[in-house]
C-alpha cells in the first residue's frame, strides 16, 4: 500500500528524530563507558549501532521513495545528508566504546582525568517513593539538588535522552555524571522521599 504524502512526511520526521536521538545517546554512553570503564555501557553502544545501521537504511529508502520534484531536490538532499551525519556520529561513538571492549585500559590517561576533575559517573534506579517519580526532568531539578547531570535514562530496554520535558517514572535507571560528592545525594533523591542536604 502506498503511503500518502502526509503520512510519509510524518514517518520521515519521526525517523530522523530517532536517528538523531540514538546517535546522541550513543555518544553520551560511549564517553561514560570510558569514564567508568564499563563493558555493559560499551555493549549497549554496540547494540545501538546495529539498530542505527538498520534505521538509517530504512530512512534513506523512505526519502528516496518519494516522488521528488526538481525544486524540492535541495531540501531532500539536506535530509539525506543529516541522516549521514547521524550515522557518522554513531560510528564514532561505537569506536570509542570499542576501546573499552578491547580492554585497552585507557586509565592512565582518562582515569586520572576523572580524579582531577573529581567527576564521576553513576547509575541509580528511581524507586516508587522517590520524589522524582512522576516529575518532568525540568521540575525534578536534579542538578540543583545534587550537582549531578543526568546523561541518559534507561526505561525497560529503551534508552531515552534527558530532555527537560521527559517525565521520570518509577523503575527508570538514571545515568548521571558530576562531582563525586553528588553521588550519595542522587541516591537519596532517587530512592527515598527525603530531599538531599542542600549545600
Amino acid at each position: 500500500m502506498k503511503m500518502s504524502d502526509e503520512e510519509s512526511f510524518k514517518k520521515i520526521v519521526d525517523m530522523l528524530a530517532e536517528l538523531k536521538d540514538t546517535s546522541e545517546i550513543m555518544m553520551d554512553l560511549a564517553y561514560s563507558s570510558i569514564l567508568i570503564n564499563s563493558k555493559d555501557l560499551a555493549n549497549e553502544v554496540q547494540e545501538l549501532e546495529d539498530r542505527m545501521d538498520h534505521l538509517h537504511t530504512e530512512f534513506e529508502l523512505l526519502v528516496l521513495s518519494r516522488c521528488i520534484k526538481p525544486e524540492e531536490s535541495k531540501h531532500f538532499l539536506g535530509l539525506i545528508r543529516l541522516g549521514v551525519v547521524t550515522e557518522k556520529i554513531a560510528d564514532a561513538a561505537s569506536q570509542i566504546a570499542e576501546v573499552v571492549l578491547r580492554g585497552l585500559e585507557p586509565h592512565p590517561v582518562l582515569g586520572l582525568a576523572i580524579k582531577q576533575a573529581e567527576e564521576t559517573v553513576t547509575h541509580v534506579q528511581v524507586s516508587k517513593k522517590s520524589r522524582l517519580a512522576g516529575k518532568s526532568l525540568r521540575e525534578a531539578q536534579v542538578h540543583e539538588e545534587t550537582g549531578m547531570w543526568v546523561l541518559a535514562i534507561k526505561r525497560a530496554d529503551k534508552w531515552l535522552r534527558p530532555k527537560p520535558d521527559i517525565v521520570i517514572e518509577a523503575g527508570d535507571v538514571l545515568i548521571a555524571s558530576g562531582y563525586a560528592g553528588g553521588e550519595e545525594e542522587l541516591k537519596t533523591l532517587a530512592t527515598t522521599e527525603k530531599r538531599p542536604h542542600k549545600k
Binding site: 531540501h75 543529516l82 551525519v85 557518522k88 590517561v109
Partner: protein, 203 residues
C-alpha cells in the same frame, strides 16, 4: 579557501586535550542542529570556528601522545586515547558537515524543520550589548534555569571559550553566550542580552 596554519608542538597533558576536544565537539553537535533547524548562519559559523579549534587540538594530542610513549606498555595504554581522540574529531567533523549544509543554503525540508522546532529545545548565540542588564552580574544570580528555563552552556570572551562556565563567573559587555532552553525563555533571554528588556524578572 581556508588557510591552514602550521601547528607547533606544545607540551599539554593528553587528558586535558582529550577533555577539551570532547567538550567542544558535544557543544558543536548541539549548535549545528540548531543552526540547521533555525537556519542560522551565525551558529553555523561558530561551529566551523570550533571545528578548526578541535583540529588543532587533535594534532597536539597526537604529538603529545607520541612523545609520552617510551615503551610498548606506554604505547598500549596511550593508543586508547588516540583512538578516542580520532573518533571525537570525527564527531566534530560531522557537526561541521551540518554547518556547511546551512552555509551552502542546502537546508532541510521546511516541513521537517517545523516538526523539529516543536520538539527541540532552542539554542541561541548572543552578544552582551552595552545596554544589557546582564553586565556585571554573576551567572548564579541570574537564576536563569529556574526563572526562564534557560541554561548558559558556553561563554566566549577574548578568543577564549569556556564550556559550562562557572556559576561565579561575572558577565561582561561583549561576552558571547551560547544558551539553551525552551523557545519562550530563549526569546526573552536574547532580548535581555540585547538590552531591549531591562529587567530579569518574568513579566
Amino acid at each position: 579557501m581556508v588557510r591552514f596554519e602550521r601547528i607547533k608542538y606544545k607540551p599539554v597533558p593528553v587528558r586535558e586535550l582529550l577533555i577539551e576536544m570532547k567538550d567542544i565537539s558535544e557543544l558543536m553537535i548541539d549548535l549545528a542542529y540548531s543552526a540547521a533547524l533555525f537556519h542560522s548562519h551565525a551558529l553555523a559559523e561558530e561551529v566551523l570556528e570550533l571545528e578548526r579549534q578541535v583540529d588543532t587540538l587533535a594534532y597536539l594530542l597526537d604529538m603529545n601522545a607520541m612523545i609520552a610513549a617510551r615503551d610498548a606498555k606506554d604505547a598500549e595504554s596511550l593508543v586508547g586515547a588516540t583512538v578516542i581522540a580520532t573518533a571525537t574529531n570525527k564527531i566534530s567533523d560531522a557537526a561541521g558537515d551540518i554547518a556547511t549544509l546551512v552555509l551552502r543554503e542546502i537546508g532541510i525540508h521546511p516541513i521537517v524543520r517545523e516538526a523539529f522546532e516543536k520538539v527541540e529545545e532552542r539554542l541561541t548565540r548572543v552578544v552582551i550589548s552595552p545596554h544589557s542588564v546582564l553586565i556585571g552580574k554573576r551567572i548564579r544570580d541570574l537564576r536563569l534555569a529556574s526563572k526562564k528555563g534557560v541554561d548558559i552552556i558556553a561563554l566566549r570572551r577574548n578568543q577564549g571559550l569556556k564550556i559550562n562556565p562557572e556559576d561565579e563567573e561575572k558577565l561582561q559587555e561583549g561576552d558571547i553566550l551560547v544558551a539553551r532552553g525552551a523557545p519562550l525563555g530563549v526569546d526573552e533571554f536574547e532580548k535581555i542580552a540585547e538590552g531591549t528588556i531591562r529587567e530579569l524578572e518574568s513579566r
